[in-house]
């Protein structure tokens, strides 16, 4: 190569340099853009849910003076809880409302008036009287829940134009406000009640209990079995056909769509074994199979990180292999296993699809008390509410999502904390 040629190469490089640098800049920018896009999407997702769900954490209550008339009690009867349960509190509520607004005379207007407060009010009064029999004959001011239409106006999630409230109803609301009889307070009902057809009475207590029961079953089964499987595969298994088969199966199961586990649950647990639908036990069994691969994989990694010197020392002191594992290796690997299990449980807690297959989507008002009671879980409750067109339910859906995410964040933070606290560098 001669001198001029070499120079020309340098020139070519020199010439193309600006272009290449611009390209470099563009590429870098594209990369940054991708990261920013992903983060913006996360922000939009979370923000839209928080903005939608926040109003659901408050609710509007109206103070009315109820007179527990003696005439409610049938003549010549003792005041017992059964008698109270059969009393007509609906009429009492209606009568109180009519007395509060004496100018309402027309039938249609009366109906509109009754609709202003939640139809759970009579039950609230009943429970008050059951709790305190001496209330009979007295007049007590009681905060009853406002109907969800009134509620939405106060929380500003609906303007008057969107609302189904009529001008007359709005007038009554203004009168109540003027008399200082309306308050917007924290929505305890949301955390105390089960599902309901009425938005203002619906809550997530039942769903949370259901989720808790399901997670107890899942953790109780998948943790011991997952750890046992990991111990066998990591400490005992020698390469053999059976062990290869097990490994392949575990890796594949981790990637099987969750809905397929639901099909398995439906065919085996419900149709073959005749277990009840909607039961937390069945849901727990299905989720156990689903989370098992996660726990096994995490537990194996934890076992792998325990250095061989620990094992050799134990064996050298005369421990049997089983003693070496259970007395020395397992305790050291436990934090890692727990971390993996918590992450597996967080997965199980957010899972919906397989539970739809085993009938967990029934409308259930009662709070489940046991593993065989019909129940629903938090994500399924979210799915059910998301289907309801009413705006008040949309708020509650987002609020339930916030609660679910709070649980998941807590669990993940716990896992991170555990890892940090017990992490050992050998």
């Amino acid at each position: 190569m001669n001198n001029s040629n070499r120079q020309s190469i340098a020139e070519i490089v020199e010439k193309s340099l600006a272009k290449r640098k611009a390209k470099e800049k563009r590429f870098r920018f594209a990369g940054m853009l991708a990261v920013i896009t992903a983060l913006i999407m996360l922000a939009v997702l979370l923000l839209s849910i928080v903005v939608t769900g926040l109003p659901a954490f408050t609710q509007t209550a109206i103070k009315l003076d109820f007179h527990f008339e003696e005439s409610l009690l049938p003549a010549d009867t003792e005041l017992t809880d059964e008698v109270i349960a059969s009393m007509d509190f609906h009429s009492l509520v209606k009568k109180t409302l009519r007395e509060k607004f004496p100018m309402v005379k027309k039938r249609g207007d009366k109906k509109a008036l009754y609709k202003m407060i939640s139809n759970g009010a009579p039950y609230q009064l009943r429970d008050m009287l059951i709790e305190d029999h001496s209330l009979l004959g007295k007049t007590v001011p009681v905060w009853v829940l406002a109907d969800d239409e009134v509620d939405s106006i106060f929380k500003g999630s609906k303007t008057i134009a969107d609302s189904r409230l009529t001008e007359t109803q709005y007038g009554w609301v203004r009168q109540l406000v003027a008399e200082d009889r309306v308050v917007t307070r924290f929505n305890w009902t949301f955390f105390q009640n089960g599902d309901s057809r009425e938005p203002e009475q619906s809550g997530i207590r039942g769903a949370i209990m259901g989720s808790l029961l399901v997670i107890i079953v899942t953790l109780g089964l998948s943790f011991p079995m997952g750890v046992a499987a990991a111990v066998y595969l990591e400490e005992y298994a020698k390469p053999s056909r059976l062990n290869d088969l097990i490994e392949i199966n575990i890796n594949n199961l981790a990637a099987v769509p969750s809905i397929v586990f639901g099909l398995l649950g439906l065919a085996v647990y419900i149709n073959f074994m005749g277990m009840p639908r909607s039961a937390p036990l069945v849901a727990g069994l299905v989720l156990t199979l689903m989370t098992l691969p996660t726990i096994i994989i995490a537990s194996r990694a934890a076992l792998k990180s325990v250095p061989p010197s620990i094992r050799e020392a134990a064996l050298g002191m005369g421990a049997s292999k089983m003693q070496m594992i259970f007395h020395h290796v397992l305790p050291l690997a436990m934090p890692g296993m727990l971390t993996g299990s918590i992450i597996g449980m967080a997965q199980a807690l957010g899972e919906t699809a397989p539970l739809l297959m085993i009938g967990m989507i029934a409308f259930i008002v009662d709070i489940p008390q046991g593993f065989m009671d019909p129940a629903t879980v938090l994500p399924v409750q979210i799915y059910l509410w998301a289907d309801v067109p009413e705006a008040a339910f949309r708020e509650r859906t987002a609020a339930a999502i916030m609660v679910l995410l709070a649980f998941l964040v807590t669990m993940n933070l716990l896992a991170v904390w555990l890892r940090k606290k017990f992490e050992k560098r050998w």
Binding site: F27, G31, M32, M41, L45, P257, L264, A267, A353, I382
Partner: protein, 427 residues
């Protein structure tokens, strides 16, 4: 005492295992088979009048009897069915009593056996360790049983489905409308089970999802591993992982609440007619869900490329982006392809987003603005709610499930194979 072979607790463990294990095993077996056996016993006594009933009608009958025996319904049964209901209840209670008796007996026998075995020369530790090892092996074989369970349960019902609907009709049929007619004169319920439009819809939505997830996921993985300062990486990476931790039902709600109306409004401003349940909205949201999946898998393979290759490229005067594009990405390509295949299998099997944001009607279309349906949506709609277990409609869900399982399994096996092969290359 010093003459004992094992330390004392082992004799206790041994007795506990002998007492508890066999009894527990019998209890589990008993519970799993009791209902099936009692039901078949009851049904074998079915009065001759019902002989002509089809399997399906018999199933409904059995359900009636069971509900009655459990006292869940108050309707009145015909006298002969009432007899069956009473018999069912009677058998159930006998079975329960027998269960308790048998389990207790086995527990006691096991306990006595263990008691007899407690002698100086018994090697209790070896005994216990053998049993525990057996338990460990049993736990690890559950993965196999689960797979077998999935295959069998899905296959079994699918075979029954294919007895009613020819295999070719299912796999090559161009029309899907599983609503079978109850009366002959009903309109619009042809009961066609051609899965092509359903599968096409799944592919369309997955394709849109990959269009979102692959560029964003891959580019952010490249940026975070090659360019980003350590601090940014430490913050941005976990934030992206958060996207993976969000439950799918939340994405579904997000799709229905925000993205679908947005896509629709945008379409209206541009002058396009967008369906309320467009494939585009579902696909976009599914893409967001899959971004972290693609990015963390790509991150792994990009980091696995040896530093020497980067250094070589820099030494030749390549810019950073040229190194990435011409050296690192080609070297990491097999791993990235494997990761993308895993992501595709994830998209195909994803359920909640499409259930909440995609349509129910099976349209055979490639237009992302139309509503399409997917395999998972159809499985959910066919199986949720009231169902009779022998109709082609319900069984079709299992045939779809089988297809889904086989397709995702194949994708996973291929992907894992590619990823593993790639890893070996650089290790």
């Amino acid at each position: 005492m010093h003459k004992l072979h094992s330390r004392l607790p082992y004799y206790g463990y041994m007795s506990a295992l002998w007492t508890g294990l066999p009894a527990l095993l019998i209890l589990l077996l008993w519970i799993s088979f009791e209902t099936t056996i009692v039901s078949s016993l009851v049904m074998s006594d079915l009065p001759p009048a019902y002989e002509s009933y089809s399997e399906q009608q018999k199933g409904l009958l059995l359900n009636d009897i069971k509900n009655h025996a459990a006292g869940k319904v108050t309707s009145v049964l015909t006298p002969e069915l009432q007899v069956l209901s009473d018999r069912y209840e009677h058998l159930k209670s006998i079975a329960n009593m027998a269960n308790i008796a048998v389990v207790l007996a086995i527990g006691i026998i096991g306990g006595i056996f263990a008691w007899q075995k407690i002698k100086v020369e018994t090697r209790a530790r070896n005994n216990v360790e053998k049993i525990v090892k057996g338990l460990l092996i049993a736990s690890s074989t559950i993965a196999i049983f689960t797979t077998v369970g999935i295959v069998l349960s899905v296959l079994f019902e699918s075979v029954r489905f294919f007895e009613k609907i020819p295999v070719t009709d299912f796999f090559f049929g161009l029309e899907w409308s599983p609503q079978t007619a109850i009366r002959d004169d009903q309109v619009g319920s042809s009961g066609a089970f051609g899965m092509v439009p359903v599968f096409a819809g799944t592919l369309l939505i997955s394709f849109i999802a990959m269009l979102v997830a692959v560029p964003i996921g891959l580019m952010s993985a490249v940026y975070l591993s090659e360019y980003a300062p350590r601090k940014l990486r430490a913050v941005a990476k976990p934030m992206m992982e958060v996207l993976a931790g969000v439950p799918t039902v939340v994405y579904g709600f997000f799709a229905a609440l925000v993205v679908a109306p947005l896509v629709r409004d945008l379409g209206v401003t541009v002058g396009l007619d967008v369906s309320a349940e467009s494939a585009l909205a579902a696909g976009l949201v599914m893409g967001i869900m899959i971004i972290p999946f693609v990015s963390s898998l790509s991150d792994d393979v990009i980091n696995a490329v040896p530093q020497a290759m980067r250094d070589g490229a820099y030494a030749l005067g390549a810019t950073q982006s040229e190194t990435v594009r011409q050296v690192i990405l080609p070297a990491a390509l097999p791993g990235i392809v494997g990761g993308v295949l895993l992501a595709v299998s994830r998209a195909i099997g994803e359920t909640m987003i499409v259930v909440m944001a995609a349509g129910l009607a099976a349209n055979l279309t490639a237009n992302p603005l139309n509503a399409v349906t997917t395999v998972t949506v159809q499985i959910v709609t066919l199986l949720v709610g009231d169902q009779e277990f022998d109709s082609a409609k319900t069984l079709a869900a299992f045939a779809l499930g089988l297809t889904l399982f086989v397709v995702t399994l194949a994708l996973n096996v291929i992907a894992l194979h590619i990823v593993r092969k790639y890893r070996e290359q650089y290790e």
